[in-house]
Chain length 321, copies 2
């Protein structure tokens, strides 16, 4: 059997695992919910179980893997395999040796990367960015992450580039839980939209959002809930998503004015769920903010879909950095 | 005599010309006001006269120059030596063959570049950016231009990168004359600040700004007028400059959040006039908008001072692009 590589997309709500061959063709997969409490060890156990299941699906042993790449939300120390400051994960405040913990249990080498970074890397190498020299990836999900690709390389700056979600578009506007005011993510992040939806409903506004959530047996407003509510014309969902689109568009246009990239690639849970019609909406909403609207770059959706993060994470294995 | 190179900083209010040797040491100079009417030919005549005077100062003939570099405001076609869309210059709407016109009259080769681009290039090669891998240059003057330096190279994108002045920080806020709403330049551009000062005074607010302007025999609120009014504690000047600082800081922080550069370099007429204390003020005002305030990059003033644009323009001569 040719080589098998495992990729893990560690999200705040789910853990997506793929096993691919050297050509990154899918050979096995597994998706499990992310434990919401129990701390780092519970998250490690869930990852290890899902890696095992994906390997079973692919017909290989975890020990036979060439390696495991993990895209994780938060501050990643790639060299040392540490994850810290991941507010969407239970107990990952101080640096936790995630690579070592998963690697030890699976008997395989583990490389760690930032979740959005690996998803953008996946699009660069295998997806919508294959033929682009430069683009900005905007990953619209629980938060809004981004990745900057210039001359076909990820631009990391001093290590923390790509925080487009935390750029200000509306001074004095809505605040994020971290205290940053008027940022794009304050308007567009799924978590922040859910907070505002709860506040609006508590204040007496009607909406199908939370009924749909209960019917689906969920505790959060997932991408599919937002999508269903939009499809039903729910006014609150329409308003909040509209404000999110406007915020993403303003921040994306700022990035274009600064960097003049060839394209915007839209991914993430919400971005992937809504697809190209939403990318087109963002593209149209960008125009008033573009210095050169006649040279507006296209806004396209991520080509690797909802497994893009996990597939991108496989690119960490064997990579030089 | 060793080689002599001429650099021209073509601004909306003045034309600054330097003659340097191969090491970019100053050998001659001249500064003349930019003709406010008369169209492109009057601007060409003024440039040619100033180049002649700077060469006289340097003790060389214009024909003996290795070349003339011109940094010009507006849309520059460097290959063809054309300047267009320069609203701060009389009559430069359609493409005008500036390189050919100046070169023909001086008997020397002329290379054209964007005014802010050449000033940032000057800082990169000879000034505050000499030892930096990456920085964002912010040129605070009539407008607010910027230049992006990554891995010690100017980043041009598809040709129009660096429009930080036209990024939005306050949706629904103040508008620029070009119609763009809530951009940094709407708040911070000297021309826009002057418009608001005139409106405030017309509405009955008192200010020393226009008295100082008349005393100085000027028709515009130049950098020195703003500086004097600030020094006197003029409330209107204090308010408008304060709003400009806040706007520049928000946009600069956005650029840092996106690119995580090593420094911000502040230049331009106002930036150079106000100097490091103002750079420090901008640095402090950036912090609330930085995703990692503990890693705030320093904000430093351009080292080449008010001749930086002209000196930077000399780098166009002999450059590969």
């Amino acid at each position: 059997m040719s080589e098998r590589i495992c990729g893990v997309d560690l999200g705040g709500t789910k853990i997506e695992v793929v096993v691919v061959n050297a050509d990154r063709k899918l050979r096995g997969q597994c998706r499990v919910p992310t434990p919401q409490d129990g701390g780092p060890q519970s998250v490690v156990d869930a990852i290890v179980g899902a890696v095992q299941a994906a390997c079973d699906d692919a017909g290989c042993a975890t020990k036979a893997l060439k390696g495991i790449g993990i895209g994780a939300p938060g501050a990643v120390n790639a060299e040392r395999g540490l994850l810290s400051r991941a507010p969407n994960l239970s107990g990952f405040v101080d640096a936790f040796p995630l690579a070592e913990a998963v690697g030890g249990a699976c008997g395989a080498k583990v490389k760690l990367g930032n979740d959005v970074g690996v998803a953008v890397l996946g699009e660069l190498e295998l997806g919508a960015g294959r033929k682009l020299q430069s683009f900005v990836g905007i990953w619209w999900g629980t938060g809004v992450g981004s990745g900057i690709v210039l001359q076909r390389k990820m631009w990391h700056g001093r290590g923390a580039a790509g925080e487009l979600g935390h750029t200000v578009i509306q001074r004095g506007g809505l605040a994020e839980p971290n205290g940053m005011v008027g940022t794009m993510e304050a308007y567009a992040g799924r978590r922040n939209m859910e907070t505002r939806a709860r506040e609006a409903v508590a204040a007496g506004q009607t909406s199908v959002l939370f009924e749909l959530m209960e019917q689906a047996g969920k505790e959060r407003l997932s991408s599919s809930i937002w999508s269903k509510a939009l499809a039903q014309g729910d006014p609150l969902a329409t308003q909040l998503i509209g404000e999110g689109v406007a915020a993403i568009a303003a921040a994306a246009a700022n990035a274009v004015n600064i960097l003049d990239v060839e394209a915007i690639i839209l991914g993430g849970g919400l971005g992937t769920r809504f697809g190209q019609p939403m990318a087109d909406r963002i593209g149209a909403a960008m125009r008033p903010y573009l210095f050169q609207p006649d040279k507006a770059p296209p806004v396209v959706t991520a080509a690797l879909g909802d497994k893009g993060g996990a597939i991108g994470a496989t690119l960490l294995v064997g990579a030089k950095r």
